[in-house]
Symmetry: C2
């Protein structure tokens, strides 16, 4: 395989995107005021706000830009009621104005990768040769696990062997590894969504305490998809936040080495 | 087991946290202007800015508030140079002012859970009985996988059986499932961190293309920890963003049902 240069040196691309300055305090207020809200009042979230927050979710960074995420906004009353039950009827779901299911789609890497290559082809003259190589060679090598994931163990062996002599990216080596890979990117987008909801004066609650199997059936998802979390959203009720935020000594979580 | 009420009804807690309004446009500018920056200039990020961004990372929502994350800010020159190599010496690492490793710590659930219970005990009169029950009963039931994860298959069987008749939270059923669980929360915090960096006029790049095994050894992490991503940060160089943001038709990713 010819050497792929994207990792070694910055390609000549001629593109410039200036760093704009933004208002730190306003941003901080969003992060600081976001709490997991467990009871909402009757206020509904305008459609346009929901659409804008979902759009902002998709601007999160993600692995190889393969965008292995999906957001199901469950609006149909019958489906929504079922989803509330699958979230164990907890108040955060039951009182919510809106419910969104974040889904990881590791099974779609090939589809998105094809779109990416088509985009390069469309541009005719591929300015970023290294990027084209990345999507045509590296991505399939990294993410194609073969039928039932049978390539996985061979990848693992190869990587282990290569890793003996030089730094080598590890994994994924299995369909479970692919799931983890896709879930991470999906979670990044979830955080964008929740902060965006807060930035409009509404609130959210991420729920993992739900029946992921039933939720998956409700959304009619294929086997390869997996539920990341259900996010409820609405306007916080007076008793919506159960207590002050609990965080422990930062030294347990932040290490300077 | 007595019924835990936290899921069924909002407890009486008497706590109020008003929803403050924030500046949506300022927030949106942070999300919109965040790009994965692959070349930084020589500008260094002030220490105080780094500390504040790390603090904001830890304000992300997370599963059961067990804060299964750690952020290693690698400042020592020798270690930092090694870390650059483990990130395959890509420009996003090589030219970065700072490097942070986000680590998922599923193995620490018991430690944080104990802190949580101690916090309730400290408050003497436990106002939130349901919350206390949650941490003393539900959490150990959900996250204790036993030595080498041997409880996992029994949990899975129990959940499968219970799930036949009613909505039942699924998983984790294995140490790999625990890893996924912790990685998701860690990714939420990573997104906070990257947005916070942007809000200060700096930029970041999340890297998964790195030798997670060598990174883990470098940080001297125990077996149960797992690397989520390495995040570089700095001031973007003129050629730091390789091209316009690539996103495909929203209908592929957002479903209204």
């Amino acid at each position: 395989m010819s050497k792929v240069e994207i990792f070694n040196s910055a390609p000549k691309h001629g593109y410039k995107e200036k760093s704009i300055s933004v208002d730190h305090d306003a941003f901080k207020a969003v992060i600081e005021s976001r709490r997991s809200v467990r009871v909402y009042d009757e206020t509904t979230i305008p459609e346009g706000v929901m659409r804008e927050c979902l759009r902002l979710a998709l601007l999160a960074p993600n692995s190889s830009n393969l965008q292995t995420w999906q957001f199901y906004w469950v609006r149909d009353e019958v489906k929504k009621n079922k989803l509330v039950k699958y979230c164990l009827s907890q108040p955060a779901a039951r009182t919510a104005s809106e419910l969104v299911v974040a889904v990881a789609r590791p099974d779609r890497w090939r589809e998105i990768n094809a779109l990416m290559l088509a985009k390069f082809d469309e541009a005719k003259k591929v300015k970023l040769k290294a990027a084209y190589q990345y999507y045509s060679r590296i991505v399939p090598m990294a993410y194609n696990m073969g039928p039932f994931g049978i390539y996985g163990p061979f990848k693992q062996l190869y990587v282990w062997f290569r890793g003996l002599s030089k730094p080598t990216p590890r994994g994924p080596y299995s369909l479970a590894g692919m799931r983890l890979w896709a879930q991470k990117s999906t979670a990044l987008a979830c955080e964008n969504f929740m902060l965006a909801i807060r930035s409009y004066g509404f609130d959210s609650c991420p729920m993992e305490g739900m029946d992921a199997k039933r939720v998956k059936d409700l959304l009619d998802l294929p086997k390869g998809a997996s539920i990341c979390m259900v996010i409820s959203a609405g306007k916080r009720a007076d008793n919506g936040v159960y207590g002050p935020r609990v965080r422990f000594d930062q030294n347990l979580f932040i290490k300077e080495i």
